[in-house]
Amino acid sequence: MTIVFALLIAAPALAQKAPLADTQLSDPAQEAQAKALMETIRCVECQGQAIADSNADIAGNMRSLIRERIKAGESPEQVRAWLIQRYGDYISYDPPLGGATWPLWAAPFVLLVIGIAIARSSFRRKR
């Protein structure tokens, strides 16, 4: 619900103008940073798309916002933190490591350990 409310509040402000929605930054390094960040930010109106891949107006507005902030000298992680603060964790496809996500990030290692244990048992009885 918080997301919906955040959107309702944010949408009119965002909708006014999005000059940098599809305009690249002149500095290629900054543009690359902005682009990489956009690929990891969720389009909240779409079904499972990043704002980098979406035709939705809100995605364009957010692309514009990201480019503006990167252009102003913010680091991609600062912009992401700002977006998360504003929209919640839902906005980032890169879930931050925390109380609710540690099992997720631990899963690959746990799976690898379990897998090795199972595989070892199929070798142990050899010869």
């Binding site: 496809y93 996500t101 799976l111 690898l112 595989a119 199929s122």
Partner: protein, 644 residues
């Protein structure tokens, strides 16, 4: 009348499925020979009846019979014929009917063609097929009747989502469904073998063509789906780690692992329990794939709440199937010995590592896909996407690539490290050469793409190495299949890495006569014109394109299409394919001052992604042919022996 006929056929097919289960189980458990004779005809009849029901559904779509609710909701009389037909399965009910149709036909095919497996195991297999089908019939008949009528009938239908009005749609879902169903047949074989406690090479050889066939279709389905998303969505992306995509990737990963372990079982009589376990996992994944996509729970938690009855029905079926499969596995696996053992450094050893890594990737994708759902359950909203999968799947996949290269160069049973290292000389040299070539201009592209390109070079050489020094004309077809499929992995990986490392993007507002550069190309806007299609109208931009100043010009015309029913705008990208990559152009919005927004990408070697996918599928097909031919010959030899 046709709709009622279809419904009647569906009911009869369901009755046949129940009969099939009764007949098969009394044959297997009760040992009744007269029942055993009825198993095959009943399975064939069930297949024919479902096919008849599907045919009826296609017919009402072709006739645009708007008194059928499904047609009114999803079709339109002005739609081109191909999309009317494809529309029959471009919706929830129709696609479930297609699923069960393919399942029924596959069951019939098992009944007709499988002649080598022990008859008790075969009957148990066909019984398991009936049990799977019954759940789908129940779901169709009680919760999603595709033939429901609508009164009064509307003058015309709502139309099909324009994004789906594409040749890709016509073939994508059926292809994936054939794959899912093939896996369910493989699973039925596993159930049959567990029931009769007959897990061995004979069972593995009976199961293998189904696994291989399913895997070929899944490979083609995923490859085609990826290309469809690439050109249709208009942003140049080819894989989004979208839950629906993951739902098709998971069965493929499981089937890939199963394909390799069933080979060990067929050839060396090892990995018995593991193969059965993978069959159960692969089946569970294809069920999760079908059910969670169809219930809508993955794309939107709300879609689930819209029709709680349907969602609850699907989840109950899912729980029964997977729970039942695991329970049978747990109850019987104690009696299945793992079979022949082997040394760590051996072909089997590499295949075990391959299986391990594939399973880890599968587990990561599964957890990553379902985690947001679970988190929503305890009140946390979060998203898991590309960055997570890149960081976790990426390194494991690269490790897997190393073992794909090593595996075929090892001998069965036992090999020596020294000998392996010697055989790896050329692949390692290729990787080193790639590293030296790439480092100067690919240093800034990041670790994953660079490592992928370097490993792909090594894999490309290693994958053809098994042909080295062999008489190519006497090399068995399935060896060719392995070589081609592994080479396909290297090719596809090169495309993926190259796309993420070297893509050039230009976003611009162009007026008539203005030129912008993207990669090696110069793109000039020469005009904007209207276009009229059968059920849409469009604005097309004519872009005149040259490669460098002196290049011969050619025209690309990306379009922005407007559909009236339902009202939607789509971007039709225009793509120029060259040997060294694709130029991808998209038309966006007008700026109101005579300029038009265009998005231009130069994507070096991006086509290799799908070319590689095609090679992987082709490798599977060669393997399939090789196995079928060898099997035929084996049957013939038996016949000869019997006659002699």
């Amino acid at each position: 009348m046709i709709a009622e006929g279809g419904l009647a056929a569906l009911w009869l097919a369901a009755v046949m499925a129940v009969l099939q289960l009764v007949v098969a189980s009394s044959a297997v458990i009760g040992g009744r020979a007269e029942m055993a004779r009825a198993v095959r005809p009943v399975a064939i009849a069930q297949g024919l009846l479902t096919a008849l029901a599907m045919l009826c559904l296609i017919l009402v779509f072709v006739q645009s019979d708007m008194s059928v609710l499904l047609v009114a909701e999803n079709s339109h009389s002005l739609k081109p014929m191909m999309y009317k037909i494809a529309g029959a399965w471009g919706n929830h009910e129709g696609s479930m009917l297609l699923w069960v149709t393919i399942l029924g036909l596959a069951g019939g095919a098992v009944a007709i063609f499988e002649r080598r497996l022990d008859s008790r195991t075969l009957n148990a297999t066909i019984g398991a097929q009936a049990l799977i089908a019954m759940g789908f019939y129940a779901f169709l008949l009680f919760a999603s009747n595709p033939f429901a009528r609508l009164f009064p009938s509307p003058p015309d239908g709502n139309g099909l989502n324009p994004l789906l009005q594409d040749p890709g749609l016509a073939f994508h879902p059926p292809t994936l469904y054939v794959g899912y169903v093939g896996i369910s047949v493989a699973f039925s074989f596993a159930v049959g073998a567990l029931v009769t406690r007959d897990v061995g090479p004979a069972f593995a050889r009976a199961m293998r063509p189904w696994v291989l066939g399913a895997w070929i279709f899944l490979t083609i389905g995923i490859t085609a789906g990826s290309y469809w998303a690439y050109y249709e969505l208009g942003w140049g992306g080819w894989w989004f780690w979208d839950p629906v995509e993951n739902a098709s990737l998971m069965p493929w990963l499981a089937a890939t692992a199963l394909l390799h372990s069933v080979s060990v079982l067929a050839t060396r009589d090892g990995l018995r329990a593991w193969t059965i376990m993978l069959a159960v996992v692969a089946f569970s994944m294809s069920m999760i794939g079908t059910f969670l996509v169809r219930s809508g729970i993955l794309t939107s938690v709300h879609a689930f709440a819209v029709d709680p009855k349907r969602g609850a029905f699907l989840l109950a079926l899912l729980a029964i199937y997977i729970g039942g499969a695991l329970a049978l596995f747990a109850a019987r696996i104690g009696t299945v010995r793992q079979g022949n053992t082997f040394a760590l450094v051996s072909r089997e050893g590499a295949l075990v590592v391959n299986n391990l890594l594939l399973s880890v990737i599968l587990g990561i994708v599964l957890i990553g896909t379902l985690y947001p759902l679970a988190a929503a359950g305890w009140g946390v909203q979060l998203s898991v996407g590309k960055p997570f999968f890149d960081k976790t799947v990426g390194p494991v996949a690269l490790a897997l690539v190393v073992f794909i290269a090593i595996g075929p160069l090892l001998r069965w049973r036992r090999d020596e490290i020294q000998a392996l290292l010697k055989r790896m000389t050329w692949p390692v040299a290729a990787s080193c050469a790639a590293l030296i070539v790439l480092v100067p201009f690919a240093w800034g592209v990041g670790f994953l793409p660079l490592a992928a390109l370097v490993l792909a070079a090594g894999l490309a050489v290693a994958s053809v190495a098994p042909l080295w020094g062999r008489n190519l004309r006497r090399t068995p077809l399935f060896t060719w299949g392995m070589v081609v499929a592994h080479l396909g992995v290297a090719v596809s990986l090169t495309g993926m890495a190259s796309d993420s490392a070297f893509t050039k993007e230009t976003l611009a507002v162009l007026r008539q006569g203005e030129t912008r550069a993207v990669g090696p190309y110069l793109v000039t806007m020469t005009g904007i014109r209207p276009v009229v299609g059968p059920n849409w109208s469009a604005i097309a931009a004519d872009l005149s394109i040259r490669r460098g100043e002196g290049g011969a010009p050619f025209i690309l015309s990306p379009e922005s299409r407007f559909f009236a029913s339902p009202t939607t705008t789509t971007s039709e990208s225009a793509i120029a394919t060259r040997l060294d990559g694709q130029l991808y152009t998209v038309l966006g919005q007008p700026d109101g001052k005579g300029g038009w927004q265009v998005r231009l990408w130069w994507k070096p070697f991006v086509t290799l992604i799908w070319l590689g996918g095609g090679l992987i599928g082709l490798g599977g097909a060669l393997s399939f042919l090789g196995r079928i031919r060898r099997r035929k010959r084996a049957v013939y030899d038996e016949y000869e022996e019997a006659v002699a």
